[in-house]
Amino acid sequence: MLDLLDRRLLFVTGKGGVGKSTVTAATALIAAEQGKKVLLVEVDAKGNLTNLFEHPPVGFDPREVHPGVFAMQLNTEASLREYLKLNLRIPMVGRIGPIANIFDFVANAAPGVKEILTVGKVCWEVRESVEGRADWDLVIVDAAATGHVLAQLDAPRTIRELVHTGPIRSQTEWMIEILSDPALTALNVVTAPEEMPVNETIELVARAREETTVPLGAVIVNRVLPEPFTVEDEPVFAAMSTPRAAAALVDELGEGAEGVFDAARLAVALRRARVPHLDALRAAVDLPLLYLPYLFVRDHGLRVTRMVADALGAELGL
């Protein structure tokens, strides 16, 4: 069994459109059901993560969106304000506005500054919990997409290289410690059995090893289509397309027969087309792979989050 849920900090990334947020929410749901107090952090400012719990959007202050699951949305200005208050004891109340504007400007221009406010806040929550000043058992981050997540995770090291003195530099040290500790932290990648998501996953795993010290957890393959027929049943299905069988089927089922069989052929073809991508992923990535089925459902909401959580729980051996 994979001990993912025993860590304290899980990052979840993935290419856009593969279901990263749903898998993140499902992971939080499982952990909460294991009795953990979970902080779910949304990094991308889309603000739709809490939809998956059928809860209205949340802000920077964590809100309980489901029993045991507290969600917050990261915001670099709020993060900066908190940082200044906690670490520098600067009386900022009146002046934070203009300072934040300037900071925003510097953060846009200078590498790693925005990212460190994100990853720093997350690490801070983990450190506070590990040292007993906060009580999150697990912090789960719906992180940036594959293209940007490494810059985010590596921000403390980037800053350490660029900033030679000052409190920020010294704080990068404990952040790097948390981010590099395989007992505490894991970066997980959500993907789908399609060409681009698989390529991006392979590339990300390689780059994460080369460019960062962040330990990798698992690759979650989402939306795996079922194989409709077993090997023994395949010839039976094929024989149903022979002219005599097809004619008998139209006779029995009416004009709709063809459409039903066309759909079954589409299901087979869709599944087949994805197999090479799964094979490529297995061959190139030596991490635990967890498979989640394609769900034939209506829109996303708590019900779907629950279904994904059940499938993920089964893959984790829970």
Binding site: K15, G16, G17, A45, N48, L88, R95, P98, I99, I102, F105, V106, N108, A109, A110, P111, G112, A145, G147, H148, A151, L162, V163, H164, T165, G166, P167, M196, P197, P228, E232, D233, V236, F237, A239, S241, T242, R244, A245, A248, L249, E252, L253, G254, G256, G259, V260, A263, A264, L266, A267, A269, L270, R272, A273, F296, V297, R298, D299, H300
Partner: protein, 421 residues
């Protein structure tokens, strides 16, 4: 425009024939890159002229198919033989290029820097490397800047451009303005002023107004880091005028009548909501919203009542149908237990996809505030990775395939539609 044939009503074909720039946008994972490439191919084949597609990050096989793997910023013509091998008889030329952010930035610096020394100081600065390679916003800007550059050469009748995957699909629209604000802003002057007075590498002279900022910033970031930033921007500032002029020109091109936007989406909840937001926002900001492409849509046969009735029969009482098939004297169908099992699976499989198809139809019916042109591209079995595949999508975009509810045995559905313009 060479060989253009304007359609009587609004259609994607008329956009391809009348606009000079077509920008494809949408949220990640909806098939934006393939759709943009397919539209460019369709323009080259059916409309004519010299057509360029600028892609950001194509799948390797697609890049291979277009012959643009690893070529960076240089445009390449897709050889006519490649198009003919796919059974196409192009009236025009198809060109392709891939956006190389770093190379484009370097070009920009070399073009705008006052002298080689300043250019080199900028290019060698580590902040520069970070600025150009790590930041999404710089990627957005450079995509639009490159588009402007290509357009102003006048080489192409039509440029189809794919947009970078962004957290917020609107980021790239704001990029030129933000870039102009950035270099034109008082903040930059304010930040660099103390260093300016003290000389480029000299001591910092902090005036009264900015002192509180520096007191705080020093404590957070350290004096050295601030100075590094300031020196870098002092160099960068020498390019200010050129940058701002360019950013304004890029902005004008995007708003110009010759430019139209196409929003691509699937009929899934999140991408669709984003697409609707995007359509509304483009209109509100006075851009020309040309078309909406619904991609990877399941075939309409899933909504057919006869087909649904047949599926229900297979799920609920496959035994009688199985008995009939087993009696045909076909070897593979002799085992009625196996036949029953397969028939039930066939029915269930249809019902599974029908749930999704019904949701899609519902989503589509609820679409509000969409442009006149809506093109539907069906769900193909595999990712499109060759010219023939692109041509197939292109025909759907142009509404050239006959509307069909049939799924072909190879799993490729054929369906296309246009809302009456």
């Amino acid at each position: 425009m060479t060989g253009s044939a304007s359609a009587p009503s609004a259609s994607l074909e008329s956009l391809l024939a009348s606009r000079e720039v077509l920008v494809f946008c949408g949220s990640g994972g909806v098939g934006k890159t393939s759709t943009a490439a397919a539209a460019a191919l369709a323009a080259a084949v059916h409309v004519g002229g010299r057509v360029l597609v600028v892609t950001i990050d194509p799948a390797r096989r697609l890049a291979d198919a277009l012959g643009i793997e690893g070529i960076g910023n240089i445009e390449r013509r897709v050889p006519d033989e490649v198009l003919r091998a796919a059974g196409l008889a192009p009236r025009g030329e198809l060109w392709a290029a891939m956006l190389d952010t770093k190379a484009s930035w370097d070009d920009l610096v070399l073009r705008h820097a006052p002298d080689a020394e300043t250019a080199n100081q900028i290019l060698d600065n580590r902040l520069y490397e970070n600025l150009t390679s790590r930041f999404v916003q710089s990627h957005d800007y450079i995509a639009m800047e490159r588009l402007y550059d290509l357009h102003s050469t006048g080489t192409y009748d039509l440029i189809v451009v794919d947009t970078p995957p962004t957290r917020n699909a609107l980021d790239f629209l704001d990029a030129p303005q933000r870039m102009a604000d950035f270099f034109g802003g008082r903040l930059l002057r304010w930040l660099t002023a103390p260093y300016r007075l003290g000389g480029r590498r000299g001591a910092r002279l902090v005036n009264f107004a900015s002192r509180p900022f520096y007191q705080v910033a020093d404590r957070i970031l350290g004096t050295q880091f601030l100075q590094d930033i300031a020196v870098f921007f002092l160099n960068f500032e020498t390019m200010y005028a050129g940058f701002v002029t360019r950013a304004r020109a890029v902005e004008r091109l995007l708003h110009d009548r010759r430019t139209a936007f196409t929003v691509v989406t699937t009929l899934e909840g999140a991408p669709l909501r984003e697409a609707e937001f995007f359509c509304a926002e483009l209109t509100a900001r006075d851009y020309h919203l040309g078309a909406l492409v619904l991609n990877r849509v399941l075939p309409e046969s899933f909504a057919d009542v006869d087909v649904a009735a047949a599926a229900t029969r297979l799920v609920e009482e496959p035994e009688t149908v199985a008995a009939r098939l087993s009696g045909l004297g076909i070897d593979a169908l002799a085992d009625s237990v196996a036949v029953t099992r397969v028939l039930r699976t066939v029915g269930q499989s249809f019902r599974n996809f029908a749930v999704v198809a019904t949701r899609e139809a519902e989503m589509r019916a609820q679409l509000s505030r969409v442009p006149d042109v809506v093109a539907t591209v069906p769900s193909f079995a595999d990712d499109v990775h060759d010219v023939a595949g692109l041509a197939r999508i292109g025909e759907c975009l142009l509404g050239m395939q006959l509307p069909s509810t049939r799924v072909r045995a190879d799993g490729r559905a054929g369906e296309a539609e246009h809302r009456p313009g």
